[in-house]
Amino acid sequence: MAGRIVVPFGPQHPVLPEPIHLDLVLEDERVVEAIPSIGYVHRGLEKLVEKRDFKDFVYIAERICGICSFTHSVGYCKAIEAIMDLQVPERAQYLRTIWSEYSRLHSHLLWLGLYADAMGFENLFMNAWRIRETILDAMEETTGGRVIQGVCKVGGVRRDISDAKLKEMTAKLDSIGGEIEDLCHVFFDDASVKHRSVGVGMLSKEDAHKLGAVGPVAKGSGIALDLRQTGYSAYGSLDFKPIVETGCDCYSRCIVRAKELAQSVDLIKQAAANIPAGDIEVKVKGNPDGEYFSRVEQPRGECIHYVKANGSKNILRERVRTPSSANIPPLVKMLEGCQMADVPVIVLSIDPCIGCAER
């Protein structure tokens, strides 16, 4: 029996696109304890509210993270709109829903690719990202941006999607639907995927609840936690049920995300079929005064934008709690007792977004 050794993991590591540092305490090949240390990407953007007025801050909020960018701007705008009691037009709500689901598609395809890459399955990585490009094309055609859209604003959205374009988009989704299905089947059935992820990185339902897991991490541990159930934007009028898996391992978290792809496609089609005509924005008068915790379901889980304002054009405090920071304690739990060689797969299974976690 070897003594304990501490192996540093990160911040610059071939498997990590982003810098996170973990001190792994090892006994032979087994991880006894993992101590995360972050701060490499901390920018301190919450403090920028003192320098930007509340309408301008949307573009900072959007740049908290380049993957959940659109959902961050929705979260922030929703907080301001709730404080100011703005009636955002229905059409804008539907458009936000459509773009949010496109973000989810792009984020989950990105993650499935990275996860495949962490397992050493490069072909699958390339395939996932190839399909993702068609999603980004749709984003670019409708908003003008691939990953940072800049289309959401306080009181509505900046651009409309014509009905003809919506038809074209759904037709496109139909045509790539088969490809997405094929891709998902590899994740569902492939022996090497199962070999790397079944029973790896266990997180029981109790632990997930106690440690405050959110998003696919919670859903993969049998907790039906999905804020789209609260019915913000247009989710209230769409048919939707959270996807839950009970395996509590990396495989379940992977399956949840793969199944959410089909769900997002379905939600986009529903929204495109039911979108009402009308304005896409409402005029914003005055400054916000009050406080609100705005909650949205991002691809990675529940995100909180807390805004407190006192009636001046600069809000007093914006606090963002991103899904990735909530999922760090569950990650520490998952890593306990795992093998050193499984660490990259487990770290990726929470879909860590360090840009989000540190802001």
Binding site: Q87, G212, R295, Y306, R319, R321, P330
Partner: protein
């Protein structure tokens, strides 16, 4: 317009942990802990959720008050408590996994704990800055005093 109902209950430093334990026993999930500094008051919000019902406990403290950690109840609070400690300089006692100010290593210490700049009156900013500077100085002095006093006392003793 979708607006969630959000209740906020004020708690004190004494009953914080017992109130949090109550939430835990009722099956609530800890959503987040967030801090804000308004004038000289630190406002710490503890948010909980159960079946999409959103509830908050609010603790208001002044500078220097030590807040008990709730990691004994919700272990995951360590990430938020360390963050509040690093960004605001609020001291939190007995955090289960205490990074001792090294979770988010910022170039400026406690960046959010700056004197609040009030933009209410145009003539006053200079004054309020002075006041802020004056507010900062006593801290330095009080830090320095214990060092100088013993020296002085030593000299007396030597004499």
């Amino acid at each position: 317009m979708h607006k969630e109902e959000q209740t906020i209950t004020e708690v004190g430093v004494d009953n914080l942990v017992s109130e949090v334990s109550k939430m835990y026993d009722e099956g609530y999930r800890l959503v987040q802990i967030g801090c804000g500094k308004y004038d000289d008051i630190f406002e710490i919000n503890y948010s909980f959720d159960k079946d999409c019902k959103f509830v908050n406990l609010r603790l208001k403290i002044t500078e220097g008050v030590v807040v008990p950690s709730i990691t004994g109840v919700y272990l995951c609070a360590f990430i938020y408590e360390n963050e509040i400690h690093d960004l605001f300089g609020v001291s939190i006692k007995d955090i289960a996994i205490d990074f001792k100010g090294n979770l988010i290593r910022t170039s400026v210490k406690n960046p959010f704990n700056t004197p609040t700049v009030t933009k209410v009156k145009a003539a006053k900013p200079a004054k309020s800055e002075n006041a802020a500077a004056a507010g900062a100085k006593p801290d330095v002095k009080s830090d320095a005093k214990p060092d100088t006093k013993p020296d002085a006392e030593k000299k007396k003793e030597e004499a």
